[in-house]
């Protein structure tokens, strides 16, 4: 064969769609390009599944030096028009070329005719609908895509509007065939008075269309480019998104900085987890294995074993999938089963991922959401219900549309399948979608419990009570008794002894602040007065403890985490440690550092506490006092 070259599509006499038109088919999704890419690519792969295990890999990498020459060759003859964010020539000039390979295996690959004017049996339209045509009707059973527009996501994710498609499938005779082609959606243009659509292909260019590189040629070229290979007998497709758009999705498009490769990998892993989790559950078949790698290093994809919130969603999913009578959601007029709903209460689970935030979950709060899905089990979105009144409590629900109504709900979805919009439907169909949403709202309200705004009836220190009751705890435990009227970490009120100078004789005494354990031999130990309290100083919450010193000298503040077993001797990895910040004198002046010179006076110790831990405070003489 001759060397592969570029083919640019001229308008045909019968008209044609421009590259811009094709790119716009996805609309302007609310979701970021990376998220849309993960969703649409996974859906394509899932629709093409041929085995009980679909392996879906997102492989982000920079082209290595050994493969660079092949890429430069590929790009040298590339169309000069831009139309996408950048032109292909700009990529060529850059020292590194990056790409995101979306790899699926255990899938059928893209077979069938390679030119669109040939008749193709249903089931033999893979190549046609993915590489050549647009807007083909769904042709696989149970497929989530109803538009055949999903592939637009690959082009949108490429800054240069260009992808390579490398696929292997079994032909009608059962032989393994391989194809490789490049495809660009740029901008329509005129060349010497002749109009072109702006669609280009790179491969075995013919008079009026472009054939892919085939079999040996394809395999050899894929090798030269360093693309992921096919194992023996494996079928599937690799779509290489050239120069992926890695702008940080949490910023406005215009000013968003690029994510590092690693960050982008983590975002992709999160996006895969939160969009695809129902497909990846351990106990389902067929199921999808998702892997994310950055330059060959695996990035962990959160799943139910590592993420508490996902674990709850998974449990709810299994219950809803059980189709018990208690999970049914009905429409009353007309009478119709809409789907199945189940929810799990969460405690302490929080949503942490940015990718989840895009789907409607709130970051750093307990989930109060319902994952919406229909037959293909991809997450359409997360419906936000009323939050529970306690910040640590939440719920994770799943609503799955009854299969019989699948087409109705799918038609209510925009091309990106990320919402159910009843306005797109009429009559009963619109009613079903609307009622489903109302029922979810009701269920969520039930789960959340009565709304109530926190109201402070009275604020009373409980020290006096705890002093009276303290004897009940005498001798119990090894740590000082703790009190907290709000469930938050509260420091003990008895003077603690993180240091070696253990002088506490009143463990269990409860709230006997200011009664230190004996004398140091020379001078009374500094006394801790009242209860320590939280105070916001320049935007930081600090713990403030009043201290009385009986003589002049130098005192040292000590603070440490107390655990169920006493003072913590070894902190968890990367865990925050409380710190003495400084001291505040009566006149308001602040001295930084753990030690301070004092007269016989009252002074305040300022310390930084840590979240979710109890701390002990102690003050001792730093040196002998004469």
């Amino acid at each position: 064969m001759s060397e592969p070259s570029w083919f640019s599509q001229p308008f045909s006499p019968a008209g044609g769609i421009t590259a811009e038109g094709l790119r716009n088919q996805l609309g302007r999704p609310e979701l970021s390009v990376l998220t849309v890419l993960v969703r649409e690519a996974a859906q394509n792969s899932w629709d093409a599944k041929e085995s009980r295990r679909v392996r879906f890999t997102l492989d982000l990498r920079a082209v290595g030096p050994s493969h660079m020459p092949a890429w430069r060759e590929l790009l040298r003859g590339a169309p000069r028009e831009s139309g996408a964010l950048q032109s292909l020539n700009e990529v060529l000039r850059r020292p590194t070329i990056r790409y995101l390979a979306v790899v699926d295996r255990g899938t059928s690959g893209l077979g069938g005719p390679t030119r669109s004017d040939r008749f193709a049996e249903p089931g033999q339209r893979g190549w046609l609908s993915f590489v050549l045509n647009s807007g083909e009707k769904q042709d696989t059973d149970g497929g989530g895509g109803t538009y055949g527009y999903g592939k637009g996501a690959f082009f949108l994710a490429s800054r240069v509007g260009t992808v390579l498609i490398h696929t292997r499938f079994r032909d009608a005779d059962g032989r393994l065939r391989t194809r490789l082609i490049g495809s660009s959606l740029l901008a329509s243009y005129n060349d010497e008075q002749r109009p072109f659509t702006g669609r280009h292909w790179w491969g075995d260019a013919q008079e009026d269309h472009c054939e892919p590189l085939m079999d040996e040629d394809a395999t050899r070229m894929a090798e030269r480019l360093g693309l992921p290979a096919f194992d023996d007998g494996a079928t599937g497709t690799t779509v290489v998104v050239l120069d992926p758009d890695l702008r940080d999705p949490s910023h406005d498009e215009d000013v968003a900085p690029d994510l590092s490769m690693r960050e982008a990998g983590e975002f992709l892993a999160d996006a895969a987890a939160w969009n695809l989790w129902p497909l990846t559950l351990e106990d389902r078949a067929p199921r999808m294995d998702v892997t994310v790698t950055v330059n060959g290093d695996t990035v962990a994809v959160p799943d139910e074993s590592t993420d508490a919130t996902l674990a709850h969603f998974a449990t709810a999913y299994r219950r809803a999938a059980g189709h018990g009578a208690d999970t049914e959601i009905h429409c009353k007029n007309p009478r119709r089963l809409l789907g199945h709903f189940a929810a799990e209460t969460t405690l302490g689970a929080r949503v942490r991922s940015r990718a989840a935030e895009e789907l409607g979950l709130e970051r750093d709060t307990a989930p109060h959401h319902v994952a919406l899905m229909r037959r293909p089990d991809l997450v359409v979105g997360y419906y936000q219900g009323q939050a529970k009144s306690h910040p640590e409590l939440g719920y994770a629900g799943v609503f799955k549309v009854d299969d019989a109504l699948d087409t109705v709900f799918s038609r209510s979805e925009p091309p990106t399948h990320d919402a159910w919009v009843d306005a797109q439907l009429t009559g009963y169909e619109a009613t079903y979608v609307r009622v489903a949403r109302r029922r979810l709202s009701e269920r969520c309200a039930d789960l959340a419990g009565p709304k109530h705004a926190p109201k402070v009836v009275e604020s009373t220190p409980v020290g006096a009570v705890s002093q009276r009751l303290g004897f009940l705890l005498a001798g119990v435990g090894t740590g000082a008794p703790l009190e907290g009227d709000d469930g938050a970490a509260s420091p003990p009120t008895a003077p603690p002894t993180p240091g070696a100078d253990r002088a506490r004789g009143d463990a269990g005494g409860g709230g006997t602040a200011g009664a230190p354990g004996g004398r140091s031999g020379r001078t009374r130990r500094p006394q801790l007065l009242d209860h320590p309290r939280f105070e916001n100083l320049d935007g930081t919450w600090l713990l403030v403890q009043r201290v009385r010193t009986a003589a002049p000298g130098r005192v040292r503040g000590l603070i440490g985490v107390v655990t169920g077993e006493g003072v913590e001797t070894s902190a968890p990895a990367s865990a925050e440690q409380p710190q003495v910040v400084g001291w505040r004198r009566e006149d308001g002046s602040v001295v930084h550092g753990t030690e301070v010179d004092v007269a016989a006076e009252e002074i305040e110790l300022l310390a930084r506490p840590v979240e979710d831990a109890a701390v002990e405070i102690d003050v001792e003489w730093a040196e002998n006092v004469s």
């Binding site: 449990t315 985490v561 169920g564 990367s574 979710d612």
Partner: protein
């Protein structure tokens, strides 16, 4: 009804412990050894254990020791295998209540009168010929040769698994279990928490090893200082442990 066991009087405990080095492995005669006049029973609260039961118990534990190489000095594997088996034997057959099992003299009796040879085999004297008192006297039930096994089984018994309620005894390595049970008393004070930690660790497929478990325990320790976890149900506890574990993993791998 629970079974009451003899409680060895403190003075006798000291005497027998001092004479422990005389108990050459295999020298004690079981029928002679199981009784001592210097023991008492709780006045009420159960049936006094029958002599045959004691002989049976001794035989069973001894057989476990023999199967693990007794009287030859046990290696790591033999010690672990013996511990696991004996934990099951003690918990399943003794009929102890937690109250009775909290009596240090009961354990002193078992270690110094009923099974001194086996216990001395399991925790042999150091080079200077001294035995560790905690292993025999019951001064620290988390370190006593037999008591720690019974308590381990008591805490880890999984009522939901009818086929093998003691599966958790084998779910983790010895050092890991020890971390959870002995060194982390406040974690172990909530048995459901221990079970969840073991369950989650056993179920995890990530090859993270001991560091994650240790770090997870440290994190839970911080929480048990001010949270009472006894009232949490299974799912809530699971979510808590999974969350803390995920943080540990993230921190350790970052």
């Amino acid at each position: 009804m629970s079974t009451l066991y003899p409680r060895l009087l403190p003075a006798e405990t000291e005497t027998l412990f001092a004479r422990l080095s005389d108990v050459a492995a295999g020298a004690a005669d079981p029928s002679a050894a199981i009784t001592t006049a210097r023991a008492v029973y709780a006045a009420s609260g159960g049936m006094r254990v029958h002599r045959d039961q004691l002989i049976g118990l001794r035989e069973e534990v001894r057989r476990a020791a023999v199967d693990h190489g007794y009287p030859a000095r046990p290696g790591v594997e033999a010690r672990n295998g013996f511990d696991r088996r004996v934990a099951r034997i003690l918990h399943a057959s003794m009929g102890l209540t937690a109250g009775e099992a909290s009596q240090r003299q009961v354990w002193a009796y078992l270690a110094l009168v009923l099974l001194p040879d086996v216990c001395a085999w399991r925790f042999p004297a150091n080079d200077a010929g001294k035995f560790v008192a905690d292993r025999f006297k019951g001064t620290d039930l988390t370190r006593h040769t037999l008591a720690r096994l019974w308590w381990r089984a008591q805490v880890l018994r999984d009522e939901t698994r009818v086929d093998d309620p003691y599966w958790m005894l084998e779910a983790l390595g010895e050092a890991d279990l020890d971390q959870v049970m002995a060194r982390r008393r406040s974690v172990a004070a909530t048995p459901s928490l221990v079970r969840m930690v073991v369950r989650v660790t056993a179920e995890s497929t990530d090859a993270t090893g001991r560091d994650v478990l240790r770090d997870l325990l440290k994190r839970l320790l911080r929480l048990t200082a001010f949270l009472d976890l006894d009232w949490l149900d299974e799912a809530e506890l699971r979510s808590l442990v999974l969350r803390e574990r995920a943080v540990s993993m993230a921190n350790l791998t970052s």
